[in-house]
Amino acid sequence: MSLRIVVTVKYVPDATGDRHFADDLTVDRDDVDGLLSELDEYAVEQALQISENSDDDVEITVLTVGPEDAKDALRKALSMGADKAVHVEDDDIHGTDAIGTSLVLAKAIEKAGYDLVISGMASTDGTMGVVPALLAERLGVPQVTLLSEVSVEDGTVKGRRDGDAASENLEASLPAVVSVTDQSGEARYPSFKGIMAAKKKPVESWDLSDLDIEAEEVGLEGAYTTVDNAAERPARTAGTIVKDEGEGGKQLAEFLAGQKFI
């Protein structure tokens, strides 16, 4: 038996950098250093663990939709241990929203061939956390999402989803779409050997025509949502800062009382 895993990874602006919008109100991806979204490292890690724990022949493909630089994200995932990569890149994709992104990803996943898709819980720039559910809807396969624990055996995926009201055990047959949280286990660092090996691993590039997608279906033009305005949040007015010299607790209580919290 063989198991084909596609891991979706996003290249995002560094959260600790100065993230901002470009003139067309899309996320500026040129001016800000990017990297493989940390939350997608967990998805790569779980794919590797599933592979390591499996008697089957497992092949892990990492897939990204993004600009030229997004190759960096693929390289990182390959150096962690994924087998091959697919980069969907097309100028017409600029400005695509979640609905459009899920279309491109779904077509690419189908073209690549899959038994299991693993995504991160959310991208660290858009933070919508909806793409995995959208992929399941588009592919017509079960969604087994937001897992803090995941395992695959005999064509079945099982996992634990820690929700607000309860912790649930989930189960579905493959093919399926999974997303994993940052509670699923720390991602490994690429080893020197892994980094060297990654340089020789295949990276395919596809554009929209390879996926039979028309330019109008994606990009700013195809978007289902419009951002009319983006404004930097005014800096908070500097607060009062006191040094505790024995009275700090009392002073704080005085402030809270003044604000009617006590």
């Binding site: 959260a15 600790t16 901002h20 919008f21 979640a98 609905i99 899920s102 959310a122 933070t127 956390g129 909806v130 995995p132 559910a133 959208l134 809807e137 079960p142 969604q143 999402t145 937001l146 803090s148 989803r161 820690d162 607000d164 009201a165 309860a166 912790s167 649930e168 055990n169 989930l170 189960e171 579905a172 940052d182 978007a223 289902y224 949502t225 951002v227 009319d228 305005n229 983006a230 404004a231 930097e232 949040r233 908070r236 607060g239 009062t240 800062i241 006191v242 040094k243 505790d244 024995g246 700090g248 607790g249 009392k250 704080l252 209580a253 809270l256 009382a257 604000q259 919290f261 006590i262």
Partner: protein
């Protein structure tokens, strides 16, 4: 007047507060029609009517609890067909966002997640979002189809606004996908007796500076003196001192209370992402250079083991 569908988050008929907030926002756009599903759906009607629901569409079936997400999407789609609403509003929980996204795709609509405010506009509802760890505020619209918008807790006040709240049975036929993901077990979260983190008016959080699970008693005592919920940084959660359900930040809960008190938390960008929209922010940290102090309305540079118990004492004294 146009109708607005509001997806009801409830536990066995007890409506959760974010849904009542949605009803306030829905009234700015049209007449709220609530959709309540699963066990106890019918019991939600009285509360929903008190807060402005003109109609309550209900459907009870075992599928809602036994299978993940899709049965609820099927039902919401049926409600969308029955009502042809001007917008669909869903509470921004992890599940709410997934339901909303799949619905949007099915009905050919755009989706906006995590709105913190909503107004009527010439071209449909305008949603305010807080992005990049709350360093930017955007205004967006859905430009295709029926706007599907998820709204974060604490985005509006709960306002009583009595309406008919007529209960109608929704007829739902489940799709082939509905039974794809089976829920084979469920462990309900134990109640701590404290307010729900995302809904609380006051949140008291502890971080790595709390230095041990047992020391969280100090944070809990302060929280209890204020009737607050307890939060924790990821560092405290990763260390095993406090449960992940209480984590505040990018990969935990996003909170927006009236008052947020951070003790022994440095204020990393991922933590700020989950609390920066709090109205009043207070921090206690022994490092005067900690970035959390850039956000505060009031900060105390000091040892939390001195300041927090003293604060708790003073609050108790003042409250008598």
């Amino acid at each position: 007047m146009a109708e607005v569908l509001v997806y009801v988050d409830h536990v066995d008929g007890a409506v959760r507060k974010p849904t009542l907030e949605l009803l306030t926002l829905a009234r700015r756009i049209g007449e709220p029609v609530a959709v309540a599903l699963g066990n106890g759906a019918g019991d939600t009607a009285a509360t929903l009517a008190e807060h402005g629901a003109v109609k309550v569409l209900t459907h009870e079936a075992a599928e809602y609890a036994d299978y993940l997400v899709v049965p609820k999407v099927d039902a919401l789609q049926a409600a969308h067909e029955a009502v042809s609403p001007a917008a669909v509003l869903v509470p921004s929980s992890a599940e709410g966002k997934e339901i909303a996204a799949r619905l949007a795709l099915r009905i050919g609509s755009g989706i906006i997640t995590d709105a913190v405010d909503l107004e009527a506009g010439d071209e449909g509802p305008v949603a305010t979002q807080s992005v990049f760890a709350a360093s930017f505020t955007t205004k967006s619209r859905v430009s295709k189809g029926t706007p599907v918008i998820t709204v974060k807790p604490n985005s509006a006040a709960v306002e009583p606004a009595p309406a008919a709240g007529a209960v109608e049975a929704l007829s739902v036929s489940f799709s082939a996908q509905a039974t794809g993901t089976k829920v084979t077990g469920r462990t309900p979260r134990e109640s701590t007796g404290r307010p729900e983190l995302t809904e609380a008016a006051i949140v008291v959080s502890g971080g790595r500076g709390v230095n041990g699970a047992e020391n969280f008693a100090i944070i809990e005592a302060l929280a209890d003196s204020l009737g607050a919920a307890v939060g924790a940084s990821r560092a405290a959660v990763d260390a095993g001192w406090y449960p992940h359900t209480n984590q505040v930040g990018q990969t935990g809960k996003s909170v927006s209370p009236q008052l947020y008190i951070a003790s022994g938390i440095s204020g990393a960008i991922q933590h700020r992402a989950g609390m920066q929209t709090s109205k009043t922010i207070v921090a206690i940290n022994k490092d005067a250079e900690a970035p959390i102090f850039d956000l505060v309305d009031y900060g105390v540079v000091g040892d939390l083991f001195d300041v927090v118990p003293a604060l708790t004492e003073e609050i108790k004294t003042r409250k008598g």
